[in-house]
């Protein structure tokens, strides 16, 4: 009987937890908001299962489940309550590693380099030379006096800038992000970046810009800042990438929605 109540508790408790996450908006700390409908569906299924269990309290055990199983399943709720989760920050960025340059730019530039040898077989397959989705942003970005990376434009602009760093040399840029350093950077360098989330926070990676200038010395890891600067081109592992020459920096409050969500 205790086990039957535990099953009710697990099903309904989890749905309460999920509803709580949806209501407080904390859900976006865990999964990309485009999956919200999946979570709502799980709430409904969990409630249904909880009810079914309530209606069958006297039913026999269909599977034998050890006590540890129930304990493990109570963990998500216990951990949410006891060690409240929070947005990922620079302290985990060092564990995850930071990509200064998007896969696309590496891909593109490697293709350019090996073009003479492999030109014939890439041309043979029309799918191998796809229409590049970021080209269309170039004129738009070049028109703007200051390239401003907001929540909505961050991912697209980030990719465009990484894709065509040469095109934007000298342009002004402005963005918010957290400060992150690692051992490979010089003293006057740091990365200003955001976490990007594809499905869930477990697959988050830092996408950020290498920033250099004398003013970087005043910034601590994990500070949230708004930086303004001009774009330059640097080299990293033999590939061009954008670098921000820092001009002005201002400390800001951590954003309420700290991640960039990828949609595709």
């Amino acid at each position: 009987m205790l086990k039957a109540w535990l099953r009710v508790g697990i099903c309904l408790g989890m749905s309460v937890l999920l509803v709580q996450l949806i209501i407080t908006g904390e859900l976006s700390l865990f999964v990309n908001p485009r999956f919200t409908w999946l979570i709502v569906a799980s709430v409904l299924i969990l409630v249904l299962l909880g009810l079914v269990q309530l209606w069958n309290m006297k039913g026999s055990e269909l599977h034998r489940i050890g006590a540890w199983g129930y304990l493990v399943l109570l963990l998500p709720m216990a951990m949410y309550l006891l060690i409240p989760p929070k947005a990922l920050d620079a302290s985990i960025a060092s564990k995850k590693g930071v990509s200064y340059l998007s896969a696309k730019s590496v891909n593109e530039q490697q293709q350019k380099k090996s073009a003479p040898s492999s030109a014939s077989d890439t041309n043979a397959d029309p799918l191998a030379v796809p229409e590049d989705p970021y080209k269309k942003f170039i004129p738009q970005l070049q028109r703007e006096p200051v390239i401003h990376l907001s929540q909505e434009t961050y991912a697209d602009y980030y990719n465009t800038l990484n894709f065509y760093p040469q095109q934007f040399k000298g342009k002004k840029i402005k963005l918010k992000g957290f400060v992150y350093r690692d051992d490979t950077m010089k003293k006057n360098q740091l990365v200003v970046g955001r976490f990007s989330v594809t499905c869930c926070t477990a697959d988050a990676i830092v996408i950020g810009f290498l920033t250099e200038g004398a003013k970087t010395a005043t910034l601590k890891d994990n500070d949230w800042v708004e930086v303004t600067g001009s774009l330059d081109v640097g080299m990293y592992d033999g590939v061009d990438m954008p670098v921000i020459k820092l001009e002005a920096v201002e400390k800001v409050k951590p954003l309420k929605d700290p991640y960039i969500y990828f949609t595709y």
Binding site: N56, M79, I83, P84, K96, C200, D203
Partner: protein
């Protein structure tokens, strides 16, 4: 009064609970807020690693939960509604046809690897040959539209990586299907249940494990209502049974991400010979969804060559911690060793030789 309650209590509790949820959703009252405010206070002193650990654990858990639920529902409905004889009438008998067919199931049934284990286990129990089931289990997370789309996006709109990923995934799945055909044809792969029911269909008669359940079964063949109820109440158990392994897997994977870190692997992975093995180990221990792992793999592009990247992309969806733990709940230990060992070896060798 008492009698009314007794007669209608399923409906009443249902209405009550749904009303409660409706109330909380529409009024936007965070039910747990009073509690979390207190705990937030005292836990603010804890190290940020612990908070990150909870965040990653919960994110893995919440992301996988819908798929586990779909998987267990599907499996329970197959269990109750599909008769052993009817299901395989449409499947070609000959393994030369059925194995490749199983490898392409995913195109029509886009579940990712979280939901696949309960379904595969149930299908084996319903008499699907194990070689077909394992091909299916291996191929579906890779050969599926969502994974294909995300891989295409992550690797700079290039089909090259997508074709290689699909080709290798399907190839290895088919090869493993053949291996299971050779070594496990006609041999049991599922654990023998002490608790009865799982070894035999509920209405098989021979193994009804208690009287109440037996009569329930006799009844439900006439009555659609209780059959549905049976499927649902079976889902509860299946959910808890699978959920515990899934939860454990997410816990270990989150621990790995917060306390060891991808970056450590990234540094080691620059040594060529090690890279492939390390990336496969990483895929195993991270256990992230096959529809998202391409983006993570893409972030390794600057340091790694194609072989290790493919190792990560192909091996991760087929064998990862969550899955192996979930399989441990239903399949025989020797089968799991064979499955994991053989798949690992084949992936390693293929990538070593060809990439």
């Amino acid at each position: 009064m008492g009698r009314i309650l007794k007669n209608y209590y399923p409906e009443l509790t249902g209405v009550f609970v749904l009303g409660l949820i409706f109330f909380f959703v529409t009024t936007g009252v965070p039910l747990l807020a009073p509690f979390t405010e207190v705990t937030r206070e005292w836990s603010s002193g804890l190290s940020s690693e612990l908070h990150n650990f909870t965040t990653i654990f919960l994110s893995l858990f919440i992301e996988g939960l819908p798929f586990i639920l779909f998987g267990t529902l599907l499996s329970s409905f197959v269990h109750v509604y599909v008769k052993q004889e009817t299901l395989w009438r449409f499947l070609p008998k000959h393994p030369v046809l059925s194995i490749p067919l199983a490898a392409s199931f995913g195109l029509f049934l886009p579940i990712c690897e979280c939901g696949i284990v309960p379904v595969a286990r149930r299908l084996v129990q319903k008499g699907l040959p194990s070689y077909v089931a394992f091909t299916f289990l291996l191929a579906v997370p890779i050969v599926n539209p969502i994974t294909i789309a995300s891989t295409y996006m992550a690797f700079g709109d290039s089909w090259e990586m997508v074709w290689k990923r699909i080709g290798l995934g399907a190839g290895i799945a088919i090869f493993m299907g053949v291996m299971f055909y050779l070594f496990y044809k006609g041999r049991p792969v599922l654990k023998e249940e002490t608790g009865g029911q799982r070894t035999e269909g509920c209405c098989g008669g021979a193994h009804d494990h208690d009287h109440e359940h037996g009569s329930h079964c006799a009844e439900r063949s006439h009555e659609g209502q209780s059959r549905l109820m049976h499927a649902l109440s079976h889902s509860v158990f299946e959910f808890i049974d699978m959920g515990k392994y899934f939860c454990l897997g997410a816990l270990i994977a989150a621990g790995f991400q917060t306390f060891v870190g991808v970056a450590a692997i990234k540094q080691l992975a620059q040594f060529d010979g090690l890279a492939l093995i390390l990336m496969m180990a990483l895929a195993f221990s991270l256990s992230i969804c096959s529809s998202a792992d391409a983006f993570l793999a893409a972030s390794f592009r600057s340091v790694l060559s194609q072989g290790p990247l493919l190792g990560f992309l192909v091996f991760g969806p087929m064998v990862d911690m969550k899955n192996v733990l979930m399989m441990a709940g239903g399949f025989k230990r020797s089968v799991i060793f064979f499955f994991v060992g053989c798949t690992t070896l084949v992936t390693l060798l293929t990538l070593w030789i060809f990439f």
